[in-house]
Symmetry: C2
Subunit: 80 residues, 2 copies
């Protein structure tokens, strides 16, 4: 099955990269843009067909490697 993990910075965490992108967008002529935040997305294939088991494995992957849970949140989407 296919899975997508989206990792985003927690709301209180400063995001200088997002701020730089926001500044660039304004410089390119997009004025009505605010609060730009950049995150990461991981697409992967998983063996097996048990969705709840896959979700638990993905949670463990996020906690161990894909996300820094001190400053980042993650969401897991699974599709068949």
């Amino acid at each position: 099955m296919k899975a997508r993990v989206i990792v985003t910075l927690k709301s209180g965490v400063l995001d200088p990269q997002g701020q730089a992108i926001e500044g660039s967008l304004k410089g390119l002529g997009f004025p009505g843009v605010a609060n730009v935040r950049q995150g990461k997305v991981f697409d992967l294939n998983l063996e097996g067909t048990d969705e709840s088991e896959a979700r638990s494995r993905l949670t463990s992957m996020c906690d161990k490697l894909l996300a820094n849970t001190v400053i980042e949140n993650y969401t897991i989407e699974i599709s068949n």
Copy 2:
């Protein structure tokens, strides 16, 4: 309104970062993982309430700055 842009590498494009993550996951004891690809996500707020107009502005932002359309695809999600 809020928007999320997800930028992923096109399928033929080599992703060494994804391969490194896949190797690390296997090293950490997650064997059934394959085809890991890393992308970027941008969350932003947009002024205005016209969704189709927002989508057209976001498309322009992606083409000009957020994505390299030679090697990357993007998807746009808008929520109110």
